[in-house]
Amino acid sequence: MSNPEQTNPVIIETDRSTSLVRIQNLSKTFPVASGFFRKGNSFIHAVDDISFEVGEGEILGLIGESGCGKTTTGKLLVKLETPTSGQVFLKNTHVEVKLPKQKAGVAKATSAKTKAISLVTSDGFADIAHLRGRSLKLFRRNVQMIFQDPYESLNPRMTIYDICAEPLSVQSIGSLMEREARVAELMDLVGLTPPETFLFRYPHELSGGQRQRVAIARAMILNPSFIVADEPTSMLDVSIRTGVMNLMLELREKFKISYLYITHDLAVARYMCDRIAVMYLGKIVEMGQTEDIIQNPQHPYTRALISAVPIPDPSVRRQPMELKGGVTKPINPKPRCRFYERCPMATQRCATSDHPPLEDKGSGHSVACYEV
């Protein structure tokens, strides 16, 4: 973050009016548990100064290897974690931001004013960091999350009905009868038909795919406009996975929902996403239209990643790109390109400069690399 160029976010979307979520210079560090070896002052830079936008009805894919900070990014967006620095802005009319009461005193009035400006931007975005009480609750209706493990994300002691109706009951929406009807409607929507046969079963009586559909129904029941889907199909069987992916695509069409679709599987990302952001050790190293990234990857990491994906077609021969070493943890990273140690293209400049900024290389394809 010492790089002054990065205090202003890179603007990726040309048409800003359609974006729904905008994050700016978002960072999250976790203190490293001080064991025998490291004491204090060590931090994992799980998410390190990233900025992007998600358009309305858009699916943005976040891909990267294990531990690169995908889940942490997702949790920051739904306010399950609070950022160390940076903002998450959400465009939504429902969000009511309480402004500090303007009491007597000129000095106070001005400070309140500046605060107000940082809360709600001129184009109607609100910083979710400041949501409290009722406005936080309303925010919760708008932004939902689907978790990776369908075996752990449903409470084993609750029936499917209770699980799906939970968001309604904690938000005190509707009467009991209305809730039932709404749950049944959602079950229909996610393909658990007839609903009556599923409503009063427990999660362990359902298969993985059915559970993930329940999780989707729960996420959809409050009519959110933005869903963070954290590897929703990675634990599912092949024949089941396609059904869930198609369902999510249908829901997007029907309700114009935006997704942040987290996955480590490039083929899945290609199938699901409009745009892809590639993450490496807490940084976004490349971002652009899906086909652009897949067909014409620029960053050496993305290229290695794409060349390593096995192709289910024996007639296609890949040219794998060799990388040195393996993924490490971003603990107190050195101020240089995060990919430097493994990069086959690294130069002197990469060794001496800070991590390269994410720069637009034309047609919304941005890359963070000095050598591209």
């Binding site: 092949v238 024996p314 990388l323």
Partner: protein, 386 residues
């Protein structure tokens, strides 16, 4: 030359809820130096199949029927060791005699006497005699083999990379010592010094620094742990390695590297491999032949190219079209309706019929058997795609 031949093999588990028909009448064969991929969804019996081949089954499991022939070239001096075992004698090609399955009862000079299996006949068939020069290969049947004999086949003949084995390193011992211990139990004749040298070689072969032998598992990354597991599987010079989901938990870049290394080692040592995975893309990269399993059954077996270009079984086709692809045109994937079968009470007839778009009446009643569709391709389906 065949190395392994599996015939009509069934293995079930007994549980509180009922009998889990995890491996049902599976048959295939594997040549020396060949790699076979077994692909199928979670719970279709891939791991069970592998454990059955090694007879490393839990107490509630039982092999109901079938044969697992582990072939060796016939050598007269080793014939004594086979005395009393069930064997399949394969005569020289030119000879014209049929291969014979039976118990090796006697060795008389230059001759082997085999008592063929009864096969339902009321009268025991008369013993068959083979002269040493007639025999090309002897296949030892692992199914009736006693445990002491089986232990000699394990690791040295067939070794296995277990599913999630990389997480089963004992955290309190050095990795090298753990491999050493395994080697000492299976090859008691080799000295510690020799074994250590061998392990160092193996580490080099799988792309690990031999100095890592002295390190503890927690100092290894996921990929390194898996490499060490592969080194351990190689330690007794097996003729066949069964790799159960060897790269599933790894990131793509590491996965790709390890798969390439495994393929290279296999070529170099002229080993046979059975790769097990749920990911058909991984299987396609490393195997010459692919077997598709569904609900405890092998439904199709063909060479990789054929499986991709002309699948005969509807499930194979469905499996392939439900995988998103990174190359080529982006097309809408077809989801398969329904759920994988419950192996306690699987559907009657063809186990795929409730989900099959080609199902007809006969599929609900009669169980299809593996039939040759074209040279090098077998499929079990009443209405094959070609």
């Amino acid at each position: 030359m065949a190395l392994l031949e599996v015939k009509d093999l069934s293995m079930h588990y007994w549980t509180r809820k009922g009998e889990v028909k995890a491996v049902d009448e599976v048959g295939f064969s594997l040549e020396k130096g060949e790699s076979l991929g077994l692909v199928g969804e979670s719970g279709c019996g891939k791991t069970s199949m592998a454990l059955t081949l090694l007879k490393l089954l839990p107490e509630n499991a039982k092999i109901l029927k079938g044969h697992i022939f582990f072939y060796k070239e016939f050598q007269p001096q080793t014939a004594n060791a086979l005395l009393g075992e069930m064997v399949n004698l394969v005569p020289q090609k030119a000879n014209g005699r049929a291969s014979t399955l039976g118990r090796l009862t006697r060795i008389e000079g230059e001759k082997l006497l085999v008592q063929p299996a009864r096969n339902g006949a009321t009268k025991a068939p008369s013993p068959v005699s083979f002269s040493f020069s007639e025999i090309a290969q002897v296949g030892l049947d692992l199914v009736p083999l006693r445990e002491e004999r089986m232990q000699r086949v394990r690791w040295k003949g067939i070794s296995m990379i277990f599913q999630a084995a990389m997480n089963s390193w004992n955290p309190v011992y050095r990795v090298g010592d753990q491999i050493l211990e395994a080697m000492q139990t299976h090859l008691p004749k080799t000295s510690v010094q020799q074994s250590k040298k061998r392990i160092a070689e193996l580490f080099q072969m799988v792309g690990l620094d031999p100095r890592m032998m002295e390190r503890y598992p927690h100092e290894y990354s996921g990929g390194m742990k898996q490499r060490a597991v592969i080194a351990m599987a190689l330690s007794c010079d097996p003729e066949l390695i069964i790799a159960d989901e060897p790269t599933t938990a790894l990131d793509v870049i590491v996965q790709d590297k390890i798969l390439r290394e495994m393929r290279q080692i296999q070529k170099q040592l002229h080993m046979s491999m059975i790769y097990i995975s749920h990911d058909i893309a991984v299987i396609a990269e490393v195997s010459e032949k692919i077997g598709v399993m569904y609900g405890g059954k092998l439904v199709e077996l063909a060479d990789t190219q054929t499986i991709f270009e002309r699948p005969a079984h509807p499930y194979t086709k469905a499996l392939m079209s439900s995988f998103p692809n990174l190359k080529g045109e982006k097309k809408k994937l077809e989801a398969l309706p329904g759920e994988p079968p419950d192996l306690i009470s699987p559907p009657t007839g063809c186990r795929f019929h409730p989900r099959c778009p080609y199902a007809t009446e006969v599929c609900k009643e009669k169980d299809p058997v593996l039939e040759v569709r074209q040279p090098g391709q077998v499929a079990a389906c009443w209405n094959p795609l070609h």
